[in-house]
Structures are given as C-alpha cells and as structure tokens.
C-alpha cells in the first residue's frame, strides 16, 4: 500500500493542474465568445489567395 504515498499526490496534482488550466483560460477571456470560438477553429488565419477562396466558399454555405 506504499504506492498510495505516490499515487494520491499524483492524482491531486493532475486535478490541480486541470483547475489551474481552467482558471487560466477564464482569465484569458476564452469564455467571452463561445459562439465565435467554435467558428474560428475552422476559419483560416491569414488571408492568402488560396484561403480567401475557401472563405468565400464557406460563406456561401452558411
């Protein structure tokens, strides 16, 4: 059962990392625009010629 000394702190550290991650994302304003964030994931960053045409195609579908 000595393994508990190792496993329990490990589990709690992992949980704490999750919490810190959540608080960090909250502070960063990542929950301010939940609708927009979903669409940004599939949009292109740089308006190069190739991606611009994709942007137009996307608009056509929406």
């Amino acid at each position: 059962m000595e393994v508990l000394v190792f496993l329990v702190p490990l589990a709690l550290t992992l949980g704490l990392m999750g919490l810190i991650g959540f608080l960090w994302s909250l502070k960063n304003g990542q929950y301010n625009d939940l609708d927009g964030a979903g669409w940004r994931a599939i949009a292109d960053d740089e308006p190069t010629s190739g991606s611009a045409s994709l942007g137009v195609r996307l608009e056509g579908h929406l």
């Binding site: 508990l4 589990a11 919490l19 909250l26 927009g36 669409w39 949009a43």
Partner: protein
Amino acid sequence: MQATRDFSHYVRHLGSGLSHIDLAVEGVNCAGCMSKIERGLSALPDVTLARVNLTDRRVALEWKEGTLDPARFIDRLAELGYKAYPFEPVHAEAVETEQASFLLRCLGVAAFAAMNIMMLSIPVWSGNVSDMIPEQRDFFHWLSALIALPAAAYSGQPFFRSAWAALRARRTNMDVPISIGIVLALAMSVMETIHHAEHAYFDAALMLLAFLLAGRYLDQSMRRKTRAVAGNLAALKAETATKFVGADEISVVPIAAVRAGDVVLLRPGERSAVDGSVIEGRSKIDQSLITGETLPVKAEPGTAVYAGTLNLSSALRVQVSAASEGTLLAEISRLLDNAVQARSRYVQLADRASRLYAPVVHTAALLTMLGWVAFGSTWHDAIVTAISVLIITCPCALGLAIPAVQTVVSGAMFRTGVLLNSGDAIERLAEVERVVFDKTGTLTLPELDVTNAADIPQAVFELAGRLALASHHPVAAAVARAAGARTPLPGIEELTGQGVRGFINGQEVRLGRPSFCGADELANEILCRDPEASVVAFRHGETRHVFAVRQRLRPDAAGAIATLLKAGIHVEIVSGDREPAVRHAAQSLGVHQWRAGVTPADKIARIDELKRQGVKVLMVGDGMNDAPALAAAHVSMSPVSATHLSQATADLVFLGDRLAPVVAAIGFSRKALRLMRENLWLAVVYNLIAVPLAIAGLATPLVAAAAMSGSSVLVILNSLRAHRGAREFG
C-alpha cells in the same frame, strides 16, 4: 452646412499610444460575417486589433492613437453591409459580467474539489465494507479536508455573503440554510476525522456547492446575454444630436456628450433628443410623445422643446437646458422617482419558501438531537445525527428549483423576442390579472403608415415615394417608406410649409399640402371618412392622388387582445391621445374600457386605483409619459422602439412589430411559476423521504450524496419543460 460625426466620446485611450472602441454590429450571425468584418477592418492602415465577439454581436477595435477617425470604421462596416454603432458599456452590464466570471471561477473550484474528494470518498465507502485499515481511512479523510476547506471557503462566497447580508438586515433567504448546512457539515466532518470516525461529509458539502453554483451561473449568464442584446439595441438606435461646435460649424455627437448650455440644430423631420428652448427659427412641432396632443404646436424663440418632440416644418436652433429646470421631463422624473420608491419590494418565491423551510428544518434537527439524547444516546452521537439531518435537507433541490426554471424560461422568452430586464419579473408577470395598454406606439406601430395604398396605382405610388424622399416632413417620410422608395428624384426643390416639387420628362410633379397640389376635394373626401388621418397630396401633370397617412395598429393587435380576454385577463387602454382616436382603436380591438387624454400623473393615479382594489396590473407602454406608470405597475413591458427612459424602467422589453411576444411572455411566465411550485413540491417530497432516514441515523455520506444528486437531477429535468409556454396562450 455639412455635419461631421464626432465619436470621440466613445473612444478609450489605453495608454501606450493605442485607442480602443467597441461597436455594436447588426446582422453578424455566422463565421463568414466574422472573418469578413475582421479582414475588412484589419485592412485599414494602423488598425492593431479588430476582433468580433459573435456571442455579443460586437467588434472591439484598437488603433494607433490619432491616426484614424472612428467614423471611418462605421463607414467601412457599412460598405461591407453591416450597420454598426459605437457601444458604451452600461454600468449594470459591467457588474453582471464581473459577477458571471466570479460565479464561473467559484464553480470551477467547487467542481474540481467535489470531483477529487469523490475520488477519495469512493475508496473509503467501498473500504468500509471490505478491508480498509482505519489509518488509510483517516489519511483519505485528512486529504479530503485539505481540499474541501479552502475550496468551500472560496467557492461558498456567493452564498455566505448573501446570507450574511440577509441576516444583518434581520431577514432570511435561501442562502441562510444553505450556508448553515455547509458550515456545519464541514465542521462536523473535521471533528469526526480528528476522532478517527467512520463517516465524513466533505463530498456532500462540496457537491452541494457545485450543483447550486451551476444553477446560479446558468441563470446569471442567461440574464447577461439578454442584457447584452438590449445594450446593442440601445446603441444601434444611435441617439445623436447635431451640435454647434462653432458659429456655423456643426457636428453629430452622441447624446451623452451634449451638455446643458450647448446649442443644437433640430432639422425638420427630426426628433429632439434633448430638453431646451428655441433660440432661433420658427416651425411647427409635434409634442404628441410627451403630452399626447397630436395636433402640431407653433414653435418660436422662447418655446420649450422636450426630448421626443418632433420638428415638422423648418430648422430650429435649440439651447439645451438641464433636466432640473422645471421642464416636463423634470416633472416626469419626479413622478418616476416617487413611483419607484413606492413600489413595494416584491418577495420572491424562493425567499417565501425559505421562510417556511428554514424554521421547520432547524426545528426538526433540534428535535432529533433532543430525541436521541432522551433515548439514551450520547451527546456526540445525537449531535452527529442532528447535523446529518441538516446536511441531507440542505436545500440542494430547493436552491435549484427556481434558477433552473428561470434559465430555461428566459431562454425561451429570448427566442420569442422578449428580453428580461429584472430577475423577478417572471414571477410577477405570471400573476397578472389586467393589462393596461398605452395606445400610441404600443398598440399602434411606432411609425406612420399609408392606409389607402390599395386605391393608388402602383406606378404613381412609386413615383410619389421617390419624390417624398426629398422632403423631411414625417408624413412624406411615411409615404416614401410605404412605397419602398430608395432612389430620390434629381432636381427637387422644397417649399417650406407647402411641399416638394420637380420635373419629370418636362411634366411637373408635386407632393405636399392638398392646396399646393390642387387636390382639396379629394383630401376632404378622405378626411370626412377618417378625421384622424393626415393627408398628403400628389400631382403629376393632371393626375392627382391623395394619400391618407395615420398610425396603424400592430398587425396582430386584435388577435393578441382576443387571446388575453379569452384567458380571463382584463384589458384596458389608457392613452394621452385625443378621444376620437382612442375610441376608434378601442372599438376596432374589442376593448370596452378605455380612457383618453390622460396625463402622466393621471396614468399613475389609475394604476394606483387598480392597485388599491388588489388588481395585479401589467402596464405596457412606450412613451416618456408612460415611464412613471411603468414603474408604478406590478410589472411592466415596453416595445423596443420605446424611449430610453421607458425602456430602462420596464421589467421586460419586446422586439418586433407584433404584440404576440406580450401574450407569449405571460404564457411562459405562468408555466414557469407552475414549474417553480412543482419543483418546490418535489423538494418537499424528497425531504419527506430523506429526513426520516436521517433522523433514524441511517444517512451515511453515500446516502446523502446519492439523494442530493438524484433530487437535483429530477428538479433540473422538470425545469426543462419550461421551454414551452402555457397552453391557453398558444
């Protein structure tokens, strides 16, 4: 005189050489719009940030200070096809955003703690029936305490604060029993852990916090969403004034930037946005929004002009006065203040429930303790059992019963076009027995409309509409709007007080007074049939036509009122307008009770009279003169076209041209109240089952956790039914 637009009022200087502005944008609803706007604005030189918020429908812009005029962004967005206007965050919205993010932080902490404690609790529960040694159990309990205590201290703040505030004011609310339950559960668990006992309730306390915070956060975020939409609508109304910045130099500024003593220009066809007095020019003005008098009044130097006044014939220079100079607006503000103070604080259903709940539960816990002692148990065991009664009855389902319904129903109302201004409006709206409508702008559409469009040939109508675009007169504007005219005719001249004229293919066209077009006979014919209408004549060569223009009832007004009457709700019209106009509207809507020519003070008097008779009144109104009555009524509603003051006073705001949202809102709130009561009963039934178990000393942490989450899920599922309104309001 060409006016420049001055938006400097909205610009924030961030330091480090950057300026920031927030714009509300209309019609952004997809990813395509988002990237189009961001690319379009980023392409402007010196713009450092252009970011669309799709949830709030806003754009945040930053640029190098002094290089760009904010008006440029609005023009750019107009080129892209979006209407935009600078947005000034109101204080209430900023506070709510801050609260929402605090609740979310608390929820994150509580959920993290609840999950990790549960991870430690399950081995303890299963270990208790198998082979866990007491040292291991104590180790797990201490670890749980290590997580639970700081987490509860942080994430319990919303409850502890509210409970403390209530107790200090010698009141009680739902947060008092919640706080007592949580604190006692944690304290007892620590004591039990110190004494190497078998049971600790850290998991139950934290799970309770997580559930309750989830309910509150959802409620809060729904309210924040509605407020953001309302804020955008207010911004897009773009209430501006044309201010003199030099002797003959004018600039369009937002109303918030106009100060007392400034001189503003009031063009014909414009509504004044300020209170003041005329210092130059002669014109006719329409004060109907303020006094209800629909006949125009003469304005000359010295005449008082109020916000909401419509200038009819020629330009005026108005000196702005402060609101405290004995103007009508000041009188209305005074009535409004009185009404707001007199409004009895409505006791929310949740607080009423907790007033019953807390004494009953706390007495039950006390009796349990005394009972066990009387039957020969030790004090320690008796106290532990009593506290377990408090823990298991801790109002998890009770705490969720109302916010869960509110969240679902405010979402449903939002989709039908009703925005909630105040949190407890749903409960008050459900109790409504009588609806008092204002007429102008509430039962009727806010804009004038052509009533005899069917009698006029399409080609003539179109031509008249294009000609009408050249005129500033509101009646002409109604013709242009009804004709859907977009391209003005070239070379049109306006004759003040007469009309507009020009030439088309060598033939003269005129639009204006009947005498100006030689169409007096036609006009008289129309006026005999409908004395309330305004007329405007049109002449093209020898063809003459007369347009009858009047306020038109909202398209579904009759249907909406019939639905209300069928549901047993009385309907009444109280209007500041003249008697014939009100009688006509009342008759065509089938409303038997109506009052005409009512002043703002009389409107309040009528509401108070109904109040004294014990009638719960919903006031629906839009004008400045309705604002005090809106505040005095049990619950109030405004159309989105209402004046700023009325909209800020009303509990609910409805969108669009139809009255259906008013009826639907009553239906939704009735259903919601029914579900809230059902949820409270569910919580009571849950307690009837759980409390005997706890009194008998059988409420182990496992039973507590299962019972709590079970009842919460049941209440949430029941609340989801609120997305459909009551049947009789279809």
